[in-house]
Amino acid sequence: MTSIQKLSNAQIAWRAAQDIEDGSYVNLGIGFPEMIAKFQPEGRDVTYHTENGVLGFGKAPEPGEEDWDLINAGKKAITLDPGASFFHHADSFAMVRGGHLDLAVLGAYQVAQNGDLANWRVGSKGVPAVGGAMDLVHGAKRVAVVTDHVTKDGKPKLVSACTFPLTGVACVSRVYTSLAVIDIVDARFVLREKLASISFDELEALTDAPLFVDGDVADLCAPELE
């Protein structure tokens, strides 16, 4: 790994993928989180769930091979792995709310130190759309977030309290950012890993809430990815 200023989205997704456990059932949110599946480590058997009623889907089909009745929640064409199943929307969200998923990974506009998540709208303008996000933050055994550490104009996305409309209350347990891996424990941000190239003070300056340390802080590493 070369010295970098911050991780790319692909690198954040790669890092999140390293924590997906063998044998787990996982839902990856629409957009950025979907990228995590590409980096699933070799030898791990992971079953992916999508809200629109598919369990056990695989890679995207080759261009031209799409069957548009076979899509994921992001309306992207998918393929099936052996052992896949179809079910209706109520059964699909029974899986979500009923505690049957091991992990859900979502994107974020803001994550608060108590685990509150804001990821569905940034204000009261425009057309609101929520999809399955408010369901996914409840029920999955672990809810993680992948996000840039700051907004495009440099404002912290890890905050003391969310200012954008909430998706869920005290629901996030781990955040993978472009600079760090941070757990949420007892309503505090606990730093687990950070890029070697950034100091603790620099990181905290980019975070709108105190960072705590509990044990070792490892170097956040990810391979070069195109």
């Binding site: 629109n52 009745d69 899509i71 309306k75 209706h88 999809g131 399955g132 996000a133 408010m134 409840h138």
Partner: protein, 239 residues
């Protein structure tokens, strides 16, 4: 008990002004495009049915299906979870102009409210939306140390759904992920109208493989080579 009807026009003829209409599908998969277009054709010819409330996960895409209903001006309100799509201009324009109402419902809550209506369950508690703007005004309660929001059943006058194989007594199967909301909506409407790609005789669907039992279906119309909504959108088709 033959529930087949000879034509799409026939199937949608009784839908009234102001009706609440559930429409199956998630994005383009499982969307009953031909039933929707028959409804639009009737509206263009007669001015009815107007002022509809439409329940779907989305709010239409491109220039066909629900988007075309909205553009035609026959939809007063959408109840959905995600009124955004690659080409959601039809809804966006009406919404931003204040010409269409929106009830936004989390996707799992939408599914469960529809299922509850079909199952005779007037209210239930869900963790989804607790502490958010979408729970404002709704009762909340703690169970086993966690907070939940009370939601009500969601019924409709009519459901338009798309099955793959259907028999004459209304038993249905679905194609791939085209299942989604279709079996739930079939349970929740006073009158459920199914278009099926293949019409068969009772007994031709194995009883263990029926997904929607015929008791939930009132009318069946065969549409042998149905259009796929996503394919139409990508081709830029406008109805």
């Amino acid at each position: 008990m033959d529930k087949t009807l000879p034509s799409l026009e026939n199937a949608i003829a009784d839908i009234e002004d102001g009706a609440t209409v559930m429409i199956g599908g998630f994005g383009g998969s499982g969307a009953p495009v031909e039933l929707i277009h028959a409804l639009i054709d009737r509206f263009r010819a007669t001015g009815s049915p107007a002022r509809l409330t439409v329940i779907n996960n989305n709010a239409g895409n491109g220039g066909i299906g629900i988007a075309a209903m909205i553009k035609a001006g026959m939809v007063a309100k959408m109840i959905c979870s995600f009124p955004r799509s690659s080409n959601a201009e039809a809804f966006n324009e009406k919404y931003l102009a204040g010409e269409i109402d929106l009830e936004l419902v989390p996707q799992g809550t939408l599914a469960e409210r529809i299922r509850a209506a079909g199952a005779g369950i007037p209210a239930f508690f869900t963790p989804s939306s607790y502490g958010t703007d979408l729970a404002i005004g709704k009762p909340t309660e703690e169970f086993d140390g966690k907070m939940y929001v009370r939601e009500l059943w969601l019924k409709a006058d009519v459901a338009l759904i798309k099955g793959e194989t259907g028999d004459t007594v209304g038993n249905l199967t679905y194609r791939l992920a085209g299942r989604n909301f279709n079996p739930l909506m079939a349970m929740a409407a006073n009158r459920t109208i199914a278009q099926v790609s293949r019409l068969v005789s009772p007994g031709d669907i194995h009883p263990e493989q029926v997904i929607t039992p015929g008791i939930f279906v009132d009318a069946v119309v065969e549409v042998p080579t149905p259009q796929q909504e996503e394919v139409l959108v990508r081709a830029g088709v406008v109805h």
